[in-house]
Amino acid sequence: MSENRKKYRSLKSMPVRCNALYLSFREMVIVIPLVLAAAIWLLPYLWEKSEKFDFQEPDFRISYDLRDDYWSYRQWVDYAAENYDVMFVGDSVVWGMYTDNAHTLSHCYNAQKDEAAAANLGIDGLHPVALEGLMADFGRGLRGKKIYLYFNALWMNSEKFDLTYRPLVDEDGVPEKLTVMHPRLIPQFDRSIEGYGDPLKKRMAAVLERNLPICSLLNHLRGVWYDNKSLAEWMLVNPSSDPLTRPGFYISAVEREHRNRSTPWNKPRAFEVGYDWVPAERSLQLKAFIRAAKLLEERGNEVTVVVGAFNTHMLDERSLEAYGKLVSDAEDRLDDAGLKYLELETLPSESYADASHPLDAGYENMAEQIIQYEEE
């Protein structure tokens, strides 16, 4: 002990710093947690209170460009939860990939019911594994609502889509990297998604974004105001602009592009495709979908799974048979989980834009089927 004292005495005179940026231990345990708390929670809270979106626009759906801005999505969820009773949640089929705001599923539903009851909470590319993450961390505002959760079997049409794919390894031992949509929403350290090859830095950034509001806010600000660039990179592109005056408190988040497509999938000619459907018992996407639905139910929502009106007209015989089995097995699993579901009837062939996306008429048809189900 005395030797230690001697050591400390002799080292005490040694300069260790070149600035006054230091804290004593006592100061540190007070100042640093306070600063971190202010940065992580208070700043985002104040920003959230000051920021205004155009959610009141009729038939609002979040714009395609903001599809991975989960901060904006959370604000939309919170607004929708306050102003609507019915929520349509799902991927680009719900969002309306080949249609404009005035022909989406939620719009057709509202129009047929003659009231603004439903909100469109769809996002392009939202596969069930990402849906689970989105609902867990950014959909907390959904409580006590009627939710139509759209199940699109397209996400199980191959091992790659289903994320059960085992990547090939090249000569140098580097595994093939799987393209995953909404990578920030999937479980970052789940070994079952073998093809997900993002580096640790990106995975940790995703974990932080989902848990710390400041990280979500920073991604939002970068996406909306700084062209998805860091401040330094943005300043290089805009050397004379003032980055501090750039962010504003009004965000136009509504989709403005007219995506209406009048050409159905079978024009000029119909064709057949064969999918290697992943069986229900092996499917990661199906398991994640059921967990997402259960999570929403646990939050007091009345969840109805809408088993999608997949375009079976384009499937070859083998695929069609396998698809039928897959849907039947999936429904069995929904039953086992105690989830209500509605299996939509296949739409007329000319109502599809591709394998899963309906055209305007298709949405009318789907809304009719849903309302009929409600009435029954």
Binding site: V16, N19, A20, I214, D242
Partner: protein, 480 residues
């Protein structure tokens, strides 16, 4: 595994956990295992060099302790120096030597092709029937210049009798491989480190507070200051000469000066913070170099552990200040040129060293002139900064042609080419500079006033959270 990455945070948590749980006698073993793992993580082959030099100089040290015969002692220290210089020469300067030999052969029309180190090593492997493909990058172990210099300082100090010979190999190997400093210094002297290691490794509350403060300060310098400026510097300095006008080149040069400072000083502070969290104090490596009033002062503040190394093992053995005035100039010049060559195997680094040598000599005159000392301090500081920044052009360009092209543009004051001055980056630089000027003045007490420290700490933490981009910038001094 850089300090600002998650990999390091995980690694360091495990190391800290081990240090806390293991009994004191095992802590040095644990630290060595962690340090070797950290170093081997870059390339396990590099560990061979680190272990080799640890063993070699440990044995030399033991030999020096056991013998009193003068010629044997001289021979031993000669072996140690020759071994260190040979390692550096072979791995760091082989490319430079072969390149210049080839140029000489070409100019003499000898028609001889000088093989590169990778080619020679490849032939040896082929002769041994080892199927292993070598590249130039694989033949430059990271941190070689740093741990070689550390090891040399040890054997020379043992020879001189200024430090005690280390009995335990574990301790000596730990000194060389100590993971916070193995890659980029500071080039700590053995006396300081081994003295701490011989005592029980203990962490006090103040160590934690200082360690965290140092780490935050270093992180700010790296991810906010250096990485922000790096985007601008890379854009200008990696473009073709002539793409940008003189004003942009001038600002890019200033930006590089601060980027390099932020990068290296940030690393040193983070290293110091990490070491402190384990209960070790390491040398202060940077002390506001851009507020220096002359070039001797600059080198007392910039890469302090390296400049004191050159002072003790090159400048003083050459005669230091105890010789005639012209020999002092020569000694200063030689020391700075050697220092330039240590930084990199290119003529541009030699020119950079020579530039500093000339500036040091000129400032010896200036500092003795009443007219110079009458100039306001701030003006002298600005003059030193500008001349140091000019030197960085050679440092950053790494090739003489390119550096010369940039110097020509700068002095032509040409308006041709693109203009790009992201002014916000310079607000950041100005803020840091003003802070350092105040810290270096009689107003320092104001900065040490508790509420000011709290406010600055809050601002720095906020900037660390808000500013960094996705770019994972490696450290510039990594290459040396």
């Amino acid at each position: 595994m850089l300090f600002q990455t998650w990999d390091f945070i995980i690694f360091f948590s495990v190391v800290l956990g081990g240090l806390a749980l293991l009994r004191p006698g095992l802590r040095a073993w644990w630290l060595l295992a962690a340090s070797w793992f950290f170093y081997g993580n870059f390339n396990p082959v590099f560990l061979i060099f680190l272990i080799y030099i640890s063993l070699f100089d440990y044995c030399v040290g033991r030999g020096l302790a056991k013998t009193g015969t003068v010629w044997v002692r001289k021979l031993l220290v000669f072996f140690s120096v020759a071994n260190g210089v040979a390692l550096l020469g072979l791995f760091k300067y082989a490319g430079f030597i072969t390149e210049n030999l080839q140029a000489l052969c070409n100019s003499l029309d000898l028609g001889y092709r000088v093989p590169t180190l990778a080619e020679s090593a490849g032939r040896v492997l082929d002769a041994l029937n080892l199927n292993y493909e070598l590249t130039a990058a694989m033949l430059l172990p990271v941190g070689l210049s740093y741990f070689t210099f550390k090891s040399l300082s040890y054997t020379i100090d043992v020879y001189r009798g200024t430090v005690r010979c280390e009995r335990k190999f574990i301790h000596y190997a730990c000194y060389l491989a100590f993971f916070p400093t193995v890659l980029m210094g500071p080039i700590d002297r053995s006396g300081l480190f081994l003295r701490q290691l011989r005592h029980r490794i203990a962490v006090r509350r103040q160590d934690i507070a200082d360690g965290v403060s140092l780490f935050i300060s270093g992180l700010f310098k790296k991810v906010v200051l250096a990485d922000t400026l790096a985007v601008f510097v890379e854009k200008v300095y990696k473009s073709d000469v002539g793409d940008y006008n003189a004003l942009t080149v001038l600002f890019a040069t200033y930006a590089f000066a601060w980027q390099l400072y932020g990068d290296f000083s940030g690393y040193s502070e983070m290293a110091s913070g990490v070491a402190r969290l384990m209960g070790f104090r390491i040398t202060l490596n940077f002390n506001c170099p851009y507020v220096a009033v002359n070039f001797t002062d600059f080198w007392r503040r910039w890469h302090i552990s390296l400049s004191t190394w050159f002072r003790d093992y090159v400048y003083i053995p050459l005669g230091g200040n105890r010789v005639s005035e012209w020999r002092i100039w020569l000694n200063l010049f030689i020391t700075m040129v050697v220092s330039g060559f240590w930084h990199g195997e290119a003529w541009a680094f030699l020119i950079w060293g020579a530039w500093h040598g000339v500036c040091c000599v000129v400032w010896r005159f200036f500092d003795k002139s009443a007219w110079y000392l009458a100039i306001p301090k701030l003006v002298r500081q600005l003059a030193v900064f500008n001349l140091a920044a000019f030197g960085w052009i050679f440092f950053c360009s790494k090739s003489l042609d390119r550096a010369w092209g940039l110097v020509k543009i700068l002095f032509s004051w040409s308006g041709e080419g693109l203009s790009l001055v992201p002014w916000y980056m310079f607000v950041l630089v100005a803020a840091v500079w003003i802070y350092q000027l105040v810290y270096d003045s009689k107003l320092r007490r104001g900065l040490e006033f508790a509420p000011v420290r709290y406010a600055l700490m809050a601002l720095v933490i906020l900037l660390i959270i808000v500013v960094p981009g996705d770019a994972n910038q490696k450290f510039l001094y990594f290459d040396f």
